[in-house]
């Protein structure tokens, strides 16, 4: 894959005309996907996809095209045809005042070989372990490829083997525990242990459920629940463009509002699993501090925003959203989280969050999967799904009691168009109060 992509880029660069610059990117993967329902296979298959993006620049004009390629000799004609079309388009376009591409070559290569089990073996293991259980889940496994090459000689390559198996174990009445096993080396014993640990939670779910009236309750958010909350804030919250156009959900922080001093958030590329480079050819710094001790710090600045607003780019992607999010740990020992909660809700997952007042940072969403009512530090009952509607400045500000000392690395299971390489490393969070409305 790598030789084929760089070979195409070299041939295309060899055909450039005077004054032209070409940027090439590759987004490809070989993936096996298996869905499970009721402990058996619902849908199993494989996908091989390769998308070549070419961007032609001349006299401060630019145009881009993406083509699906086959991985064989016919790709050259597709790629050459795409560049020829762009060459014709450029003549019709005005200069782009916000064009910024990397011109100082920084080449990188990351290849991470994993020990992936054959998907058929994983199917056998999952079906066997799920016997007698209502398991529903999804396996995505295989190799992800990302590449970049430009006419200045820069070459970047990212090739990672990985798997992400997520599952939910259900009891009658739509009560479920969600868990997962993601990584680079499949170990049957590790999978079995994680499944058994999740199954252990089912005993608690079997207790008679409690329905809570709307109101404010003390709450402990596990790392996956906090991931949903912070994930929504990442929708424009750290974007230089969103800040400049006053559309950030953290707008009030630009007017002096602060979060808890316990909260520090980084885009920690060095510790993540996403590629270090982006489609303009810029290579990301090791980390960018987004929030330091509750105060808004740096924005993620794409090259385009850098030109538009006179900023320095930090090689953010075009959406200016974090890909390797990292929240600093707190002082709460995980084993003491329930004792510190005392009486309130232990929330494993949140679901379907959205802004109920974006500029004010107000968020609504649902509890989902294992959510329990806790009294005096002990789980006493599962809780039916509840809707919360509360402000970032209360949840992660005045009402943030502490964060856990240990953190969890969560690999993004998203597979829209392609398997995600994003990740987040987060602690759990103890909240003095969370406002429930329905």
């Amino acid at each position: 894959m790598k030789d084929h992509f760089f070979g195409l880029a070299d041939r295309l660069n060899g055909k450039l005309r005077a004054g032209e610059t070409l940027l090439c990117s590759l987004d490809a993967e070989r993936s096996d996907f298996v869905r499970f329902n009721r402990g058996r296979v619902r849908q199993a298959g494989s996908v091989q996809q390769r998308f070549l993006s070419v961007r032609l620049v001349r006299e401060r004009r630019q145009a881009a095209a993406t083509v699906a390629i086959a991985g064989d000799g016919e790709d050259w004609e597709l790629a050459r045809g795409a560049v020829a079309r762009l060459r014709g388009d450029l003549a019709q376009l005005p200069e782009d005042p916000w064009l910024l591409i990397a011109e100082d070559p920084i080449s990188t290569e990351t290849v991470r070989r994993g020990r992936l089990a054959a998907p058929e073996e994983v199917v056998q293991q999952v079906v066997a372990a799920a016997a007698g259980r209502d398991l529903v889940g999804f396996l995505a496994s295989g190799t992800i490829y990302r590449g970049f090459a430009n006419a200045f000689g820069q070459r970047n390559w990212h090739e990672v083997d990985g798997f992400n198996l997520e599952w939910s174990l259900f009891l009658p009445g739509d009560k479920a525990v969600k868990s997962g096993y993601a990584g680079f080396d499949w170990e049957p014993a590790t999978f079995a242990a994680k499944l058994e640990a999740a199954a252990g939670e089912l005993a608690l779910l079997a207790l008679p459920p409690r329905t809570l009236a709307p109101g404010e309750h003390r709450a402990y958010l596990g790392p996956r629940a906090l991931d949903e909350l912070v994930g929504l804030i990442c929708w424009g919250g750290f974007s230089a463009r969103a800040r400049a156009t006053k559309q950030s959900p953290l707008l009030r922080m630009e007017h002096g509002a602060t979060l808890s001093p316990k909260l520090t958030l980084l885009e920690n590329t060095e510790a993540g699993v996403a590629p270090r480079f982006q489609h303009d050819g810029f290579v990301k710094p090791a980390s960018v501090t987004l929030i330091a001790n509750g105060r808004l710090e740096h924005a993620l600045v794409s090259p385009r925003s850098a030109k538009e607003y006179g900023l320095e780019t930090n090689a953010a992607n075009a959406r200016e959203s974090p890909e390797s999010l990292d929240m600093a740990a707190g002082g709460l020992e995980p084993g003491e989280a329930l004792a510190a909660l005392d009486t309130g809700l232990r929330i494993g997952n949140l679901w379907y969050l959205n802004f109920s007042d974006r500029p004010a940072g107000r968020i609504t969403g649902m509890t989902r999967f294992a959510t329990f009512w806790v009294e005096r530090g002990r789980v006493v009952a599962p809780v039916s799904p509840m809707r919360f509607d509360d402000s970032i400045y209360r949840m992660l500000g005045d009402n943030l009691v502490d964060l856990t000392r240990s953190r969890e690395l969560l690999l993004d299971p998203s597979t829209y168009e392609q398997r995600s390489t994003a990740s987040s490393r987060l602690p759990g969070a103890l909240l003095r109060s969370l406002k429930f409305t329905l």
């Binding site: 996809q49 762009l86 400049a244 006053k246 829209y416």
Partner: protein
């Protein structure tokens, strides 16, 4: 490509009794002007094929962009291997004899107005962007259009052959106004099938100045009041309401449990069909592929089922779910041509296509005149609903207070919340054909692997009673 592909398909071999090929070629262009600056134009040419094999009891697929004879055979071999692997492990005993062998075609209807050149189109977008600059408080102006041509071919080894074509030109725009810590946005989206001739009748011309004016009005408006009130949802918010709290709960794969690990389940169960009062007797919901311009009108779904209009809810009573051929076999109930895939690299699952609310008999003036205290809402901005599609909270860009039968002013941050199972029973008036509009959304997310797909929703304005409405933070 389809003719040569057909010949390659005929040469394929598999040990499976049934196999199929689904080919998609899509050319998509995006053009946009932001802050009076042309964004880099984008062009995407995507093509590939999914091979599916069904053995006795097993099912497998393999998708590839390698469309050579060897590439297709390798993909079919992989699909066949999956079908063999899953024969004794599948949740449903797939029967190759019950797979469809459809025949037919759908061609794009002739275009209306002559196509604009790309330069003319860019100038048109620039004009809308420029006209939105009416005040220093306008902080972002954006106008764009997506152009798409799509060709599909579906072949089966049992003689099935379906060719379908689609064309889309989708204008969209948004304008944002700000004062201090307050920001308001108004947006425009005309999501329908058709060529560039659609632009003239879409309402896009003049949208820039109109959106800017409305964003400024919102900036000056009070928050939507809180409390129980009548709620008049205009068609562009009815789109979201019917999508989230009728469409998704009626998806048969949710009811069968397939989506419980990701998109969620449904409060609807199979025993409700034919007897459950989903809404008031005024509620009539259809799966309707017969409106040509609606976003998800097609002749066959991605499992080969011919698309025909069917009633899902009639006079308030639930009649049938949204399930494709395979889901219907699994559940033993009738459904609709609802098996759809977002592309060649994703397998078909149960989806909404065009999910519509049928017009009623009330005029807009009659509905407004009947409201003692209520809020009119339009254009969705926020959506959240639980995993069984029951407890929801939705927000709109635009609200208007209605008091004693008259609209009395604009309100900002209008939100409302409710429970699907009871909300539709509070439907007290359904707008007539004069209030009926065709809308659609481009990104309905669901499935593992994840799929985002377009969906059409046509609806009249509808009036609900006693709904919990509220506004944003502050006064």
């Amino acid at each position: 490509m389809p003719d040569s592909l057909r010949n390659r398909f005929l040469a394929l071999r598999s040990a499976a009794p049934f196999w199929s090929l689904r080919y998609i070629e899509e050319t998509r262009e995006s053009l946009a002007v932001r802050q009076d600056t042309l964004e880099p134009p984008g062009l995407a040419v995507d093509r590939g094929a999914m091979l599916t094999a069904i053995a006795e009891g097993g099912h497998g697929y393999c998708a590839t962009s390698d469309l050579s004879a060897a590439g297709l055979q390798a993909a079919l071999d992989r699909a066949t291997a999956w079908a063999e692997t899953t024969r004794s492990a599948s949740v449903y005993r797939f029967d190759p004899r019950r797979m469809l062998a459809p025949k037919g075609e759908r061609r794009v209807p002739p275009g209306g107005a002559p196509a604009l050149s790309r330069r003319e189109l860019a100038e048109l977008l620039a004009e809308e962007c420029r006209r939105a600059k009416i005040d220093d408080r306008i902080v972002e102006r954006y106008a764009g259009v997506e152009l798409c041509e799509l060709e599909q071919l579906y072949l089966t080894n049992t003689g099935g052959e379906v060719r379908q074509e689609f064309r889309y030109a989708i204008p969209h725009a948004h304008v944002t106004a700000n004062r201090g810590a307050e920001t308001q946005t108004r947006s425009f989206l005309h999501a329908q099938q058709g060529g560039l001739g659609e632009l003239a009748r879409s309402g896009f011309i003049g949208a820039g100045a109109r959106l800017a004016d409305e964003a400024l009005q919102l900036l000056a408006a009070p928050n939507c009041p809180s409390g129980k009130a009548d709620l008049l949802l205009m068609p562009d918010q009815m789109m979201l309401q019917v999508h989230e709290s009728v469409g998704h709960p009626l998806e048969l794969d949710r009811i069968l449990g397939d989506e419980r690990n990701y998109a969620g389940t449904s409060f609807v169960t199979l025993d409700m069909l034919g007897r459950y009062a989903y809404g008031s007797p005024l509620l009539n919901v259809t799966y309707d592929p017969s409106i040509p311009e609606e976003l998800a009108s097609f002749a066959f779904d991605d499992e080969g089922t011919p698309a025909e209009k069917v009633w899902l809810i009639r006079n308030g009573i639930l009649e049938r779910p949204l399930g494709g051929h395979l889901s219907q076999l699994r559940a033993g109930v009738p459904g609709a041509a609802a098996a759809r895939a977002s592309g060649w690299n994703r397998p078909p699952i149960d989806r909404m296509a065009n999910l519509n609310v049928e017009p009623g008999t009330s005029s807009a003036a009659d509905m407004i005149g009947s409201i003692e205290r209520g809020v009119l809402m339009r254009t969705n901005v926020s959506w959240s609903i639980d995993d069984s599609r029951n407890k929801f909270q939705f927000g709109c860009e635009w609200g208007e207070l209605v008091e004693n039968g008259r609209i009395t002013g604009v309100v900002k941050n209008p939100n409302y919340r409710g429970i699907s199972a009871t909300f539709w029973r509070s439907l007290k008036a359904v707008g007539d054909a004069s209030t009926f509009e065709v809308h659609g959304t481009l990104y309905c997310g669901k499935g593992e692997p994840n799929q985002a797909i377009n969906v059409g929703h046509a609806a009249p304005a509808c009036l609900f009673s006693g709904v919990d409405v509220f506004g944003g933070e502050g006064p």
